[in-house]
């Protein structure tokens, strides 16, 4: 694996060029460009608030429903959107893979990096909401970069695993959207984890996204430190997951050209 990482570092210029390509492909050529990156989460938020707050009266811990839900939605959309794009990063560029010699993980990695741009744009909306509702932030907000880092590792792990298996097994591409749906409903995107019955909570918290989204709310909405054990578990799962996924990807990549 050390050798793989060295090759990846040597290919950093390609990563740079490919990432800016992905960036241009995403934002150039559409009339509203970056505005879409704001409009999409905003429209989802509207639906979420209408259905889950106004209609179903999901409790939001004393926080205004739009703020509460968006605090879960913004990070979730980063993972969700990145996986959607990254899972197909290799198949979509199979000609490049069949005819060029370079570390293949550059392709999914670039989509993850571009996902950060969407994330940053949607974070602006979160900042606006925090300001609008006059939320007072405390020291715990300093944890946000750490939470983002853990989430990025987790997301990258899933992306590498899917990018590799989508090339080798055609069916996986149909499983990706289904899996993302399940994952969203099993994560506290638009409800607080307190709604999960306490007997199920230990199982529920095995989902690394649960501890992450809960921690985002703790530090941003309630100015309190998150529960450390689940967060540590999530960091561990993400890190181990990334190593396992990278190894899988590097082993699978030799079949990419052969099977297409």
């Amino acid at each position: 694996m050390r050798e793989d990482l060295r090759a990846l570092v040597a290919a950093r210029d390609l990563l740079y060029v490919w990432t800016s390509r992905e960036f241009k492909a995403r934002y150039a050529g559409s009339a509203l460009g970056v505005a879409w990156a704001l409009f999409y989460p905003l429209s989802l938020l509207l639906v979420f608030v209408a259905v889950f707050s106004w209609l179903l009266h999901v409790p939001t811990g004393g926080v205004a429903a739009p703020l509460f839900m968006y605090c879960g939605l913004a990070p979730w959309l980063f993972t969700n959107g990145t996986i959607q794009n990254s899972a197909f990063a290799v198949v979509a560029n199979i000609d490049l893979v069949k005819n060029g010699v370079f570390p293949r993980e550059v392709l999914p990695l670039a989509t993850v990096l571009v996902g950060f741009v969407d994330f940053a744009i949607s974070a602006v909306l979160l900042a606006l909401l925090l300001g609008y509702y006059g939320t007072s932030l405390g020291a715990p907000v300093l944890l946000v970069p750490l939470l983002i880092a853990i989430q990025a590792l987790l997301t990258l792990a899933v992306c590498l695993f899917l990018a590799g298996s989508v090339v080798l097994y055609r069916d996986v591409r149909f499983l990706v959207p289904i899996g993302l749906q399940f994952w969203m409903y099993l994560s506290p995107v638009f409800y607080p984890i307190e709604l999960v019955p306490s007997w199920a909570r230990p199982w529920y918290m095995l989902n690394p996204m649960a501890a992450l989204l809960d921690a985002y709310r703790d530090v941003l909405l309630f100015a309190r430190w998150p529960a450390w054990p689940p967060l540590a578990l999530t960091a561990g799962i993400s890190l181990v997951g990334l190593v396992v996924a990278y190894r899988y990807f590097k082993r699978a990549e030799w079949e990419f050209a052969d099977r297409n």
């Binding site: 040597a10 060029v17 490049l96 005819n99 010699v101 097994y169 069916d171 996986v172 099977r259």
Partner: protein, 242 residues
């Protein structure tokens, strides 16, 4: 010490359905059958190439020339046997396949160059040289999807032309260029050869092979049929096909 050492190399590809499906994987697992059909692209191939040699790969379509280049690149791994190479390798397997159609010629120069392992700074520094070689100054800001195949080829080779490498693998990419451009590519490749680069050239153009290569390997149905001075091997090949 040889630059390339290929020992008893065989390569097979799964036949028929190009991509695995879960159904087949599960089905195979349930029935405990290794029931996948294969085609052998290479069978027990052994040869070695010394530094500075120019070697042509000839043979009919499907004989194994491209597969051999892919194993050397390396884009895939042999099913059996051993492939060892030394030094920095540049593979021109399909010029322009690495291009992105939506990007301009300019952006694609950077994309293709970094795929070939060039640094961005180096591409920037020698950008004018690349463009001059391609003679595509007027089309630099045109998306490559509007290029003709000849133009893509020119852009692709021009990026490769500034490479310094120990081993250059060229697969049939000169075929779509006009005579004048092909001649310039060959001139550039001679310069690289004189600078000590080992060059492998897979081609159906026997004239190019005899003109450029000192040695040739003849592939037939995945096996290495002849290996020797380019003129002799080409004659063998022609004698067989006529």
């Amino acid at each position: 010490m040889p630059v390339i050492q290929v020992e008893g190399v065989s390569k097979r590809y799964p036949l028929g359905k190009p991509v695995g499906s879960l159904k087949r994987v599960v089905g195979r697992w349930l029935s405990r059958q290794p029931a996948e059909e294969f085609v052998w692209a290479l069978r027990d191939v052994t040869f070695s190439v010394g530094a500075g040699e120019t070697v042509g790969f000839i043979g009919h379509n499907g004989a194994g020339k491209s597969t051999m280049l892919r194993l050397l690149a390396p884009i895939s791994k042999p099913t059996a046997g051993r492939v060892a190479t030394r030094g920095r390798i540049a593979a021109l397997i399909a010029l322009g396949a690495g291009f992105h159609p939506d990007l301009t010629g300019r952006d694609n120069i950077f994309l293709n160059g970094t795929v070939l392992g060039l640094r961005r700074a180096e591409i920037k520094r020698r950008f004018d040289e690349i463009v001059a070689f391609s003679e595509l100054e007027r089309f630099l800001d045109t998306p490559v999807r509007h290029y003709s195949s000849g133009m893509s080829l020119r852009l692709g080779f021009s990026v490769a032309a500034i490479l310094t490498c120990d081993l250059l693998l060229v697969d049939e990419v000169l075929a779509v260029g006009d005579e004048r451009f092909t001649e310039r590519c060959l001139t550039r490749m001679r310069e690289m050869r004189d600078a000590g680069t080992t060059i492998l050239l897979a081609s159906h153009n026997l004239g190019t092979v005899t003109g450029f290569c000192s040695r040739a390997l003849l592939f037939r149905q995945g096996r290495l049929q002849a290996d020797g001075p380019a003129g002799d091997v080409v004659a063998t090949y022609q004698g067989r096909s006529t």
